[in-house]
Amino acid sequence: MSQRFDFSVNGKPVSVALDNEATPLLNVLRNELGLMGTRFGCGLEQCGCCMVLIDGEPVKSCNRDVSTLAGKTVTTIEGIGSHERPHPLQQAFLDEQAGQCGYCLAGILISAKALLEKNPSPTRKEIALALDGNICRCGSHNRIMRAVEKAAAVMRAGERA
């Protein structure tokens, strides 16, 4: 018996019919809604590839049951900016060429966005700690942290302007 689940993704209401109410949000995003930017890395809440924002909080979506989302707003990598209108974080990642294979980046951008919303001028250490839930196996860490610092500066300047 399929059941309906209603919540919002990237500012739009969605309604999905699923047989299994324990379907993880990650599966819904990728397989029902066609949003492929949120990646599968472990399914064990260990790597951060599947990070999304739920009501602004960073959450690993691979074990988050869809049934817990009623009335909540979900933001994925596709929702924070686009090729045409990049988020300052995305622009900074491009400018710093922050990434090698790039598989980790979507999750990291989400974690970084959550950090900068709480703390607009994080230290390098605070950035590192905020990203410790995200694994990068390629060793792009320093570029990524530089990009987050740069985006933070751009965003602060934007606030002031």
């Binding site: 299994n20 090698q100 598989y103």
Partner: protein
């Protein structure tokens, strides 16, 4: 006149249309057999195309890794892409450029010397002629062979090569597009998970299909051939749940899994081996000369790619099409042909990007899984994605190694004789190298292949990689014991044997320096004459403001190390600064690399930095652990049981590139492993006054050393 010698890859793939085509006015397609693994190779090839053809980068599309279309360049591995792949592409394009110029000169009845090309347009004495690649293309037959007569551009004339170029592939990953093979969807595609055979020769006992169906919470089907069992279905979650449940609901006979004893590389010392001496015979009687001897080990290491492997396959009309993120589409096609009993010409293999692999991970095997299932289900596209645990347990591991160094020391304290004796399983487990695909081992009638050969010395060796010191030592040799029956499946990981050999060699060089009462940097400079080696050693020491004989101790230390990767690729020297309490915290790394001509300096630095961070992770944390009481025998199966370096553990890294305008590029992607391992070992010695001989340098080993001291 003798015909020029073609670069080897071009010699193997001489037909020019394998390298370039002009599909529509204003457009160029450059083909490369190299594949994107996160190292930026497609962007590098774009730069090569722009320079050698004199067209703007925006006109070029790169086509990469498709059998029957792109050149067969073997594997994208071993830091060869620029060193050999780009050189072949440059010559092919230079030949093509010259064909066009000759044709234009014939039409205009002028001398080729009067002509040049700007953004694809032909100029005569600098003025536009109305002719361009696209007006001329119809008259030029690119199905001819390269001659090597086209003149490659001089380094001084490059406008793209040597300049930082933004990566082609990064935007899609930063904006969350469907950038990876994992994101592919084919019409009518079904998902599949394999119930893995625990080891070669194990046979299925019972399958509790009802329990697996219940766990799936939705319809799934079973596909079985021999001892290869897969679960397929339309709903990925159901297939995932069934796949996970099947681990306990399928019983196996003849299970033989690795033991805790086998986890330690010293186990190799007692095993039968194929032995080889490379170099001078070892002197029988060292005749009173001073002798130095030490033994080092390194455990088994995982590639630990961030995404589990994925493969897609579809059998239609007798043709098998496979999509894979492996490193070599042609070698995989060859292995699939053997496994599927199909002609290579009936198999098409496409490369699609995955996450970084750093060598031979599960990619080929996931593609093989998909192809096995597709053969059983003609007409249905199959998508296999391994589970996280499956990737950790079943990816081929980087071999554990034992390295014994014996040196004789002359009256000046310099090494006069060097033996590097190496025990290791094979670093060459690639499907095209003579090894089976994983799923193949479970198929009916499987006959094991004879043990594959190790990577030949001419290609840099496997276990022996960087076991031959570049220092000026009059007599030297490597003794290689190749262990034919390792406890787990093995293959190539970034740097192959260079990490263990570098750790051993550079540790010993520091020991000899101490015996000679010399500073480690000054000692290295006193025994190496290669000017480029001296260049990186001096530069790294200067960058770090290295103070000769600076006192260490109290848990804080600095270490130095050097290597030229494979003794023929890039030169690399580094200083590592670290703290040791119960664990090692690397604080700072300074390094100098001489890779000769660099296509994209920023890209090279990105690769080098990634290699440094990964090597720190290997050396301070990583070892695959075995326990035959556990269901799969491998107890490192996720990110908690196999931790890697985290953001908060990454040091500051300062890097310099030397000689970037040299004519010849030297492979750079794997330079860091050996020297970083050596420098960390030396810094730990500096910090503790005691040397740890076994990698990884874990808390247990540090505590044991501290207690002894």
């Amino acid at each position: 006149m003798n015909a020029p010698i073609l670069p080897p890859i071009l010699n193997d793939n001489p037909v020019l249309d394998r390298w370039v085509s002009f599909p529509a006015p204003g457009m160029v397609t450059v083909n490369t057999g190299r594949v994107e693994l996160g190292q930026g190779v497609l962007t590098a090839m774009l730069q090569v195309g722009a320079d050698e053809l004199d067209v703007d980068k925006s006109r070029i599309t790169i086509c990469s890794g498709v059998t029957g279309v792109t050149a067969n360049e073997g594997y994208t591995a071993g830091s060869h892409s620029i060193q050999t792949g780009a050189v072949a592409l440059r010559q092919a394009l230079a030949d093509v450029r010259s064909l066009f110029l000759t044709q234009a000169a014939a039409i205009m009845n002028c001398d080729v010397a009067e002509l040049s090309i700007r953004d694809g347009g032909i100029l005569r004495n600098g003025a536009s002629t109305g002719q361009d690649y696209w007006t001329l293309a119809g008259a030029i037959d690119l199905s001819t062979k390269a001659t090597g007569l086209g003149k490659r551009k001089a380094v001084a004339d490059f406008t793209s090569i040597g300049h930082d170029t933004p990566r082609l592939d990064l935007p899609a990953k930063i904006f969350g597009d469907a950038a990876f093979i994992h994101d592919m969807k084919l019409p009518g595609m079904v998902h599949a998970r394999v119930v893995r055979q625990p080891n070669r020769g194990a046979t299925i006992g019972t399958v509790d299909e009802a329990a697996i169906q219940r766990a799936a919470k939705g319809p799934v089907d079973f596909v079985r051939t021999g001892d290869f069992l897969a679960i397929v279905g339309n709903n990925e979650l159901s297939v995932d749940l069934a796949g996970a449940a099947a681990v306990d609901r399928v019983t196996w006979n003849n299970v033989e899994t690795p033991t805790p004893l086998q986890q330690e590389s010293t186990w190799l010392l007692q095993r039968p081996s194929v032995d080889k001496v490379i170099g001078d015979p070892e002197p029988a009687d060292p005749q009173g000369r001073q002798r130095f001897e030490a033994t080092f080990t390194r455990g088994y290491v995982a590639h630990a790619s961030i995404s589990p492997s994925c493969g897609l396959a579809l059998l239609t009309d007798g043709k098998m099409t496979v999509w894979t993120h492996c490193q070599g589409v042609y070698p995989l096609r060859g292995a699939l042909s053997r496994m599927l009993k199909m002609e290579p010409s009936d198999i098409i293999v496409h490369h699609v990007q995955g996450s970084g692999c750093y060598g031979h991970n599960g990619a080929d095997d996931a593609a093989a899984d998909a192809a096995i299932i597709a053969q059983q289900m003609p007409g249905t596209p199959i998508r296999v994605r391994w589970r996280r645990e499956e990737e950790f347990v079943y990816e081929p591991k980087s071999p554990g190694m034992v390295v014994k160094v014996r040196a004789l020391i002359d009256e000046n304290g310099k090494p006069s004789d060097w033996t590097q004796e190496i025990w290791s399983g094979n670093h060459n487990g690639r499907p095209g190298g003579g090894s089976s695909l994983l799923g193949e081992e479970a198929l009916p009638g499987y006959v094991p292949l004879p043990p594959a050969n190790e990577v030949p010395e001419a290609a840099g060796g496997g276990a022996t990689r960087n076991g031959d010191p570049l220092y000026d030592i009059p007599q030297k040799r490597m003794i290689h014991h190749k262990i034919e029956e390792p406890p787990v499946r093995l293959s190539s990981l970034r740097g192959l044997g260079a990490t263990a050999n570098g750790f051993a060699m550079e540790s010993c060089i520091d020991e000899l320096a101490e015996r000679a009462s010399m500073d480690p940097v000054a000692y290295r400079l006193s025994i190496i004459s290669d000017p480029r080696a001296r260049g990186v050693i001096e530069k790294a020491a200067a960058m770090a403001n290295w103070q000769p004989n600076a006192p260490g101790g109290e848990g804080h230390g600095r270490g130095f190390a050097f290597a030229r990767y494979k003794n023929k690729a890039a030169y690399f020297a580094c200083v590592v600064e670290l703290d040791v309490e119960e664990e090692i915290t690397v604080r700072h790394v300074w390094c100098a690399t001489d890779a000769g001509l660099v296509v994209s300096p920023d890209g090279a630095l990105n690769q080098i930095e990634g290699g440094i961070i990964q090597a720190i992770s290997w050396v301070t944390k990583e070892q695959v652990r075995f326990d035959n009481d556990a269901p799969t025998g491998t107890v490192s199966f996720d990110w908690e049981t196999y931790p890697v370096l985290k953001f908060s553990e990454v040091p500051e890294i300062e890097m310099a590139l030397l000689n970037t305008k040299d004519e010849v590029p030297l492979g750079v992607g794997e330079v860091a492993g050996g020297p970083i391992a050596g420098a960390i070992g030396n810094a730990v010695y500096h910090a503790l006054g005691a040397r740890i001989h076994h990698l990884p340098l874990t808390r247990d080993r540090i505590m044991a050393t501290l207690l002894q001291g």
